[in-house]
């Protein structure tokens, strides 16, 4: 395992996930390089989200191994995966509805905070100092995703596009090296889509590797360095956007679906 040194941040080796008789992810292998934007595309039901859930520990893979930053993470619990440096967002937005946007982001900082039960019970100076720092960092992240004016509103009261951004800010608060974005532009209008993709670029600018799920092929073409296409749980193509776009199997998978 020399993955850490050779620039590979995430390596999937023949990862399979079965639900009863259904094989949602079928022996998928790929590497993601440090610092790139890697897109995972495919028609509905291709197994993209299942693959995400397998990487982040929500599901245990039926077989295969997942290596992150040179360390095997197969079957680790989600909170362990998150604290090792994989952040994620959800296709269906999952914010903490009755918490302010700022608190949503601060939850992401939870695992990096050092205040113990004792500090919390008595609000020791240490806890107070840490709380202030976390507050400032969370505000910075809200600024980064451009919704700082929403800091004190309930997450559920934010407009849709802002909720998407808030999810990204919360994921960034966990201090990830790799960020998994599950259709961040789903349901957004073309202008919002463009802005969200700009944000993805900006996140990468912080040195964070990005694994992006996108249903809409056009959206990812411009932004990703490499694309992997899934269909019925299997990898049918992998490569640069140009190569993938012209791959007959990809065209068939997409056109066959939509026809």
């Amino acid at each position: 395992m020399t993955a850490a040194s050779d620039g590979v941040i995430l390596r999937l080796d023949r990862v399979t996930k079965r639900f009863g008789g259904l094989t949602a992810v079928d022996s998928v292998s790929f590497d993601i390089n440090r610092g790139e934007i890697f897109a995972l595309i495919g028609p509905n039901g291709a197994g993209k989200t299942t693959l995400f859930n397998t990487v982040t520990g929500m599901y245990k893979p039926t077989s295969g191994t997942i290596t992150f930053d040179g360390r095997e993470i197969t079957g680790l619990k989600p909170y362990r995966v998150a604290s090792l440096g994989i952040g994620r967002t959800f296709q269906q937005i999952r914010l903490f509805s009755y918490m302010s946007a700022l608190d949503n982001v601060k939850v992401g900082e939870h695992h990096t905070m050092r205040a113990k039960l004792w500090d919390s019970l008595f609000t020791t100076p240490k806890a107070r100092r840490e709380e202030r720092e976390v507050n400032a960092r969370a505000m910075d992240l809200l600024k980064f995703v451009d919704i700082q004016h929403q800091a004190h509103n309930y997450a559920r009261n934010l407009p849709y596009g802002h909720q998407r951004r808030l999810e990204i800010a919360r994921a960034l608060a966990t201090n990830p090296q790799l960020l998994l974005l599950d259709e961040p532009a789903a349901g957004a209008n073309p202008q919002e889509k463009r802005q969200l993709m700009e944000l993805v670029e900006k996140v990468r600018g912080r040195g964070i590797t990005i694994l992006l799920i996108e249903h809409d092929m056009k959206v990812v073409m411009g932004i990703s360095e490499r694309i992997l296409v899934l269909d019925y749980g299997q990898k049918i193509a992998e490569g640069k956007p140009q190569e993938v776009r012209t791959d007959p199997r990809v065209i068939e998978a997409y056109l066959g679906k939509s026809a």
């Binding site: 998150a82 959800f90 999952r94 939850v107 992401g108 939870h110 019970l121 800091a151 309930y154």
Partner: protein
Amino acid sequence: MLAGDTAMRWATGWFKSRNRTIYTLLIVGALLFPSVADVTTGGEGNHLIGTAADAGVFVLLAIGLNVVVGFAGLLDLGYAAFFAIGAYTYGMFASGQLLASPLHHEFHIPFWVLLLVGMFVAASFGIILGAPTLRLRGDYLAIVTLGFGEIVPRMVQYLGAGSPIGNWTGGVNGIAAIDPPKLPFFLTGPWVGAPIELIKNFDFTNQVAYPMDFYLLMLILIALCVVLATNLYNSRIGRAWMAVREDEVAAAASGINTVAIKLTAFAIGASFAGFAGSYYGAKLSLVSSDNFEFIVSVTILIMVVLGGMGNIPGVIVGALMIYLVQFFVLTNLPDWAQAVASTVGLSGLNQSHGDWVGLRDEVQRLNYLIFGLILVVTMVLRPQGLFPSRIREQELEKGTEEQAVFDLREDQS
């Protein structure tokens, strides 16, 4: 003038927060209550003050259950079990009870020590129960806690005289003649001078004639618990509890060890109950398994839900209200009904005719039906509780321009 102006501005700022207003009223009320009780009853206020000191137990319990149910969103239907554990911890180690046990030795550990011990013992049981079960979600957890709430009183009854491992708990008879608290030696020693000589009167020995010592002790315990619970709520742990309550999957994906954080809520909730239990044992100087039945768990839960889940001042008011209804309104209602009937000229209702046993006794019989009605009406009128939590109220008020016009949750719940 200027000072008055500043004070005015300070006061308007202070009372803008509903919670601060409630706290202020509660503190003033608590401090004035003994005098008012004494004056209004013509110097016979001791009984009322003693009752208020009992009500405080339920305030503590409601604050503790609120951590579990309100903050972390875990439905605990067996909370009285932890209360029992605290009470029995005190009862066993501050009475002659263990002389009858295989230890053949009685313990009289000071109240102040056992208050902490009871807390830790209850918290340990919280962890023992929580560790295998907190992986369960919602409804399943409720059933498990229900079972636990049933097991603890049965165990306590079983471990009396004649159990295979000896008489530890006094069985169905409970434990009587439990030591009252004693003031710590540094307050009572011969070195105590005139200025705090007064404190020696707070000796917890004759609570019928002098219940103020328990009343004051209760106020101190409540204040302590309110401060600790509020601190937790505003800390990283409180935030994690709320995150787990709102969305467990997202909380885990944000790096929160959901099982551990739920376990913390459970243990802390239990420790509050243990705390309350020790006090309860000392106050009654008698513990019996009857005091920890399922109905007690349900009553505490009602206090939390009716007061306003998640909001500490809300659940305090809820606890006081329910206690007032149960132990004052319901017990006096038969007499009131009789009196009202006589004054409005319906005294015929007060006599019994055939199946009608007279208004007083009829009301007596329907006591809990009336209690149920009060609950139903309150929850219909205020489904969110009397004083619901407006999470981070202060923070949220700042950003009013972006806020939604209405709050859907209030309509849904």
